[in-house]
């Protein structure tokens, strides 16, 4: 098997287990302030190869979400967010295209495109995912404030985890 594909599979397994076995068990409260969940699974979608066909990307996003939903007991919620992130990722990449384009860049990571670029890219992606995720979870636009608070607080912790991962593994 192609070693690049193997890497992606291994990353999937690692992130998935970390998400459902560790992060799901952590319940963070600040008093009655129950807005924080840590979500790292989108990182897998974020780090998928740049030249992946869009349709495949969308399917993988959906599959990732469904897998997480399986353990979060929330069928469809992560799946819809994963599909959404996979759908908009090419647009984000187009928008952030570096001067030389993405030629010879296998995956959009810190290693290839630098810390600043990656932080911006990962932040946009993660925010999109979380915003969609919490919108679907709350499921009514009436509680917009709740959705925004959940998104912001979860984003802060999740992006820290994402960066931690990038510094530890620094995927190529």
């Amino acid at each position: 098997m192609n070693s690049a594909i193997l890497k992606h599979i291994l990353r999937f397994v690692f992130l998935f287990l970390f998400q459902v076995l560790v992060l799901k068990q952590v319940h963070l409260y600040l008093g009655s302030f129950n807005y924080i969940s840590m979500i790292i699974m989108p990182l897998w979608i974020i780090l998928l190869p740049v030249n992946l066909p869009r349709w495949l990307l969308v399917i993988l996003g959906f599959a990732t979400g469904i897998a997480v939903d399986w353990f979060y007991d929330s069928p469809g919620v992560h799946a819809s967010a994963g599909t959404f992130l996979a759908f908009i990722r090419p647009f984000i990449l187009d928008y952030m295209e570096p001067k030389g384009g993405y030629n010879r860049i296998p995956i959009p990571s810190k290693f290839h495109l630098g810390l600043n670029w990656f932080v911006t890219y990962a932040s946009i992606s993660l925010l999109a995912y979380l915003l969609f995720y919490f919108s679907m979870e709350v499921f009514t636009p009436v509680h917009t404030l709740t959705i925004l608070l959940k998104t912001i607080f979860s984003f802060i912790l999740s992006i820290l985890l994402v960066l931690l991962y990038m510094f530890i593994f620094d995927p190529e």
């Binding site: 869009r54 969308v58 069928p75 469809g76 799946a79 009514t140």
Partner: protein, 274 residues
């Protein structure tokens, strides 16, 4: 043709995206109770709010009529109050009265969404669980009945209108006391039929129909007048048509009736069934 295929190929991921989102939302709605509740509840927050805005505008047009109705109701209540005060006027000391208990609690509400043209009409009111509305409570107007609460949201509730093919209300002829079921045939919103009054019931045109209290509507609440009553040859039951006192199409201010004895009554009839 080739262009069309190329178009589909190029935008396949968009269709795929929409399809997968649709599947996700179906999953969310089908398997997550909370979201299902929100989704099903037509009375829920967003549509309820919208309906309420529209209702507010609409209610200006019927203000005169509403006022008249409320004034009439006030007058009737005042007359009753005078009765009560007369009875207790002679009392020197207060007495703990254990012979009468309150059975029904009324909660005022306003209709924010209503339909009469369907076979199964539903109504939305602007009171929900936060205001103490309970599922299966009944809803009445000062001069007639409206329906049953079927879904309770936090701020709004859905009501199965009596103008609904699934609604059955136990009613009786006030004069003779014979009991039957009030059903709607789906035609005029002003006319309803009464089933199961036996042919010896001697129903006459112009008889008043009131509720029995069996369906958790307050006993003796006015329903309508008999406009047609006849027995087909060879049948044992009357065919009765009644004209409702209230026009549900215009209903605006209503009362949610909570039957405090519901649990007891229902558990007894449950035992009987077993």
């Amino acid at each position: 043709m080739q262009n069309l295929l190329a178009f589909f190929y190029r935008y396949a991921f968009v269709f795929l995206f929409l399809l997968l989102e649709f599947i996700s939302i179906r999953l969310i709605v089908n398997r997550n109770d909370i979201q299902r509740e929100i989704y099903l509840n037509s009375s829920s927050i967003l549509s309820g709010k919208m309906y309420e805005r529209i209702g507010k505008i609409k209610s200006y047009f019927g203000l005169q009529e509403v006022n008249d109705g409320l004034a009439a109701e006030n007058a009737a209540l005042r007359a009753k109050l005078a009765d009560i005060q007369l009875q207790t006027a002679g009392r020197v000391d207060s007495v703990l009265d254990t012979t009468t208990h309150q059975r029904f609690v009324l909660l005022p509400a306003q209709i924010v969404n209503n339909s009469i043209e369907l076979t199964n009409n539903m109504i939305t009111i602007n009171k929900g669980s936060l205001d103490g509305v309970k599922k299966y409570s009944t809803v009445v107007e000062s001069n007639g009945i409206i329906g049953f609460v079927t879904q309770v949201g936090s701020r709004y509730s859905s009501i199965m209108s009596v103008l609904n093919s699934n609604a059955r209300v136990s009613v009786m002829v006030k004069r003779s006391g014979y009991i039957g079921n009030l059903v709607w045939d789906g035609n005029s919103p002003l006319l309803m039929n009464i089933e199961a009054i036996p042919k010896h019931g001697n129903v006459q045109i112009g008889d008043t129909i009131v509720t029995t209290g069996f369906s958790h509507f307050p006993k003796g609440h006015p329903v309508g007048l008999v406009t047609r009553a006849f027995v087909l040859p060879g049948e044992n039951f009357y065919l009765i048509q009644t004209k409702l006192f209230n026009d549900i199409a215009k209903a605006n201010y209503v009362y949610v009736v909570d039957d405090l004895h519901r649990t007891e009554i229902d558990s007894l009839s449950q035992h009987t069934k077993e």
